[in-house]
């Protein structure tokens, strides 16, 4: 929602000049004796601006509500740092390179290397699986499906985006784990010469299961965002391509895809942000093993968010601080990804407005 670049963003409704002047001019009929400047032109009978009025009050209220967003973002960083620092001080090993997680011991030892790796690996695999399929479906909805089919289908995909992640986690653990395990065993039998699919088992609650569940979860988001972008392709571009004798696919490749590219990139980055921060589904499907391994099918894998959800229950003070420190890293990663995505969207918006 709200991610389609609307052309009117830079053209505020209302208009600043009109609003500002009129707000001051609209008085409640104060007597002319209350001003001390000499009257200028026809506005002489207008009252002076009161020092404090409903207008300034309301303006201040809404400005502070807007500023609240910045306050919250800064507060998140400050409070996470404040609680993370004591735990990091107590840490006896390097936080960034150590792979295990024992913050509750008398000699706390914890490091983010393995779980940060797991977070990035599972998200990247999820996107590699989800993006081509999502783009295919988005193109199907925007250019291939008849309208009678596309509208309800798009509606139900929007609904799927609203399904809570815990439901996908439950499904992944109870239903999807079995086929993935069979598939893993099959892969291991015939493709164990590829390091990704090696290992001696056990197979099941692996990076592959987590990533596939994650892929299914980010699918609706990427579909609905890129579908909107594809639908906005100027009809003139499409018709020009067709008029030059392009086939439908050539039209899509030459007119739709280049036009939608920045929007698709932004959608993918937003999906990546969602995947990186996903907690519960991964906590329910990953095997919770702290190691750095590219093996996709052996039981294992962990992510920052899943680790927080799994180990929060038995954490002591230092343990909590350690989890908050890992949350800070996650916050930083997602902040960078999201800011990059938004920067792309904003650049595209300016480009569109300039072209229009």
């Amino acid at each position: 929602m709200g991610d389609n670049p609307s052309g009117s963003t830079n053209a505020p409704a209302g208009g600043p000049g009109v609003t500002g002047r009129h707000a001051r001019a609209a008085g409640n009929g104060v007597s002319p004796s209350s001003y001390d400047e000499p009257p200028i032109g026809g506005g002489g009978a207008l009252p002076k601006k009161a020092r404090f009025s409903m207008e300034t009050g309301f303006r201040g209220l809404s400005t502070s509500a807007g500023a609240m967003v910045l306050v919250i973002i800064v507060a998140i960083a400050i409070f996470l740092i404040a609680k993370a620092v004591p735990a990091l001080r107590a840490n006896t090993v390097n936080f960034f390179s150590y792979e295990q997680w024992f913050p509750n011991d008398a000699q706390p030892k914890f490091g983010i290397a393995a779980i940060a790796f797991g977070t990035v690996l599972s998200s990247v695999i999820a996107l590699i699986v989800a993006v081509p399929i999502a783009l295919g479906i988005a193109l199907f909805l925007s250019h291939y499906a008849p309208k009678r089919l596309a509208n309800p289908l798009g509606f139900s995909i929007d609904l799927l985006a609203a399904v809570p992640s815990v439901v996908f986690g439950l499904w992944g653990r109870d239903v999807f784990a079995q086929p993935v395990q069979d598939f893993s065993i099959w892969l291991n039998k015939y493709f164990s010469w590829i390091p990704l699919f090696g290992g001696d088992g056990p197979f099941g609650r692996s990076i592959m299961l987590g990533s596939l569940v994650l892929a299914i979860m980010v699918l609706p988001i990427i579909i609905s965002l890129s579908r909107e972008v594809f639908q906005q392709t100027p009809t003139a571009n499409e018709e020009a391509a067709l008029a030059l004798g392009a086939t439908k696919w050539e039209m899509i490749r030459t007119a739709v895809l280049p036009y939608g590219k920045p929007g698709v990139i932004a959608a993918v980055m937003l999906g990546l942000g969602r995947a990186l921060g996903e907690t519960i589904a991964l906590a329910m499907t990953l095997g919770t093993v702290f190691n750095i391994s590219f093996n996709l099918i052996q039981t294992g894998g962990n992510s920052i968010a899943a680790n927080i959800a799994n180990t929060f229950g038995e954490a002591n003070d230092t343990g909590r601080g350690a989890l908050i420190a890992s949350g800070l890293v996650l916050f930083a990663i997602t902040l960078v990804v999201n800011m990059a995505a938004r920067a792309i969207i904003y650049r595209r918006r300016e480009f569109r407005d300039a072209a229009a």
Partner: protein, 362 residues
């Protein structure tokens, strides 16, 4: 659709589809399919390397390759490529529908097992591992209270923030706020939970509780409101921008001050859209598990007081029952998941219906 079809222009129909005289006949298409799947079955069962799933996958790949070759013989390279991409796009659709349909099917078939009055009228208090009963009453109470409080906090802030962005905000500061609202949309829910944990639970709540940190439903509500705020600001902002400028100017011309114009003209005009956005935000917040897990702690008993003591929520109930060793736990988890999805979907569908009746459109 942008393409001119034959019916639009009788006699001139020269679309890419029919400009070429030779087309791949349907029989050929079917023949390729039969050969492909037959070959796949022969390979798979002949070498004994898999089951019917592999047959379908391999057969599909062979069919696509065969179609590409056959079509490029008959129709030419470009048309064949067009055909291949169309098949790929259609198969992407089928591939994605399978797991999503499976989610829906499992949810319903497993969810109805415990869908009885007992489930909605009892809590998990004194329910041991061997007890088949138990329900989600406490969790439903928790969800309603937490989401309700979060809505009360987030809606005024969000709507006022959007009013600032649309009506007052100019220049660098407003652009910064707008940018960070968008960035805040992507903050992971677990980070919001950790923020409230370190801010409210560990620092503020000891003041009220003799120095002991205390979990509460209110803390969960705070975390949820952090998650709802950017969504509400964004959707409200979009709606306020759709209010036509002449409406505002008319009010100004009558001498109405700006704040009154906003409250009496602009916001009521955009109200259906704002409500839609709020409902979508509520639906999203109701499904969040991680923040509730971190700051409300979860509880087995009914707790009506959101400011005092552990609370559960439906999403957290699903998570905890899923991790429970009792053989009755999965059924409870699925029924709770079905309830949760029902609530979320009803809210979402109602919001979309409302959006459809909205007179302000892009």
């Amino acid at each position: 659709m942008s393409t001119m079809t034959q019916s639009d222009l009788p006699g001139v129909g020269m679309t890419p589809g029919n400009i070429r005289s030779k087309k791949l006949p349907l029989a050929m298409n079917l023949a390729v399919a039969v050969v492909a799947f037959g070959l796949a079955a022969a390979i798979v069962y002949g070498f004994g390397i898999g089951n019917w799933v592999l047959v379908v996958v391999l057969g599909w790949v062979l069919y696509l390759v065969g179609l590409l070759i056959a079509a490029s013989r008959v129709e030419g390279r470009r048309a064949a490529r067009n055909r291949a991409w169309r098949s790929l796009i259609y198969s992407a659709c089928i591939l994605a529908i399978l797991p999503l349909a499976s989610v829906v099917w499992t949810l319903i078939s497993k969810g109805v097992q415990r869908l009885d009055g007992d489930f909605f009228n009892s809590s998990m208090n004194n329910i041991g591992a061997r007890d088949p009963g138990g329900g989600a009453y406490h969790a439903i109470i928790g969800t309603i209270q937490q989401v309700g409080i979060a809505t009360i906090i987030a809606v005024p802030l969000g709507v006022l923030g959007a009013i600032y962005l649309v009506e007052y905000g100019r220049g660098r500061f407003a652009n910064t706020v707008r940018f960070f609202v968008d960035v805040m949309t992507g903050i992971p829910s677990i980070v919001a939970g950790l923020f409230i944990l370190s801010f409210w639970v560990l620092i503020v709540s000891p003041w009220f509780n003799n120095g002991e940190p205390r979990f509460s439903g209110f803390a969960a509500a705070l975390a949820l409101s952090v998650l709802m705020l950017p969504t509400i600001v964004r959707s409200t902002e979009e709606m306020l921008r759709l209010v036509p400028g002449p409406l505002r100017e008319g009010a100004y011309a009558l001498g109405v001050p700006q704040w009154k114009t906003i409250l009496k003209i602009v916001v009521p005009t955009a109200l259906p859209g704002i409500v839609t956005g709020v409902m979508l935000a509520i639906a999203r917040a109701a499904g969040e598990t991680a923040p509730v897990l971190l700051v409300a702690g979860g509880a087995a008993a009914i707790n009506f007081d959101p400011f005092n003591g552990n609370q559960s929520s439906l999403a957290l109930f699903v998570y905890q029952q899923a991790g429970d060793a009792s053989k009755y736990a999965p059924a409870r988890a699925w029924t709770a998941a079905l309830t949760l999805v029902a609530i979320v979907l009803i809210l979402t569908i109602a919001a979309k219906m409302l959006a459809r009746r909205n007179s302000l459109t892009r």
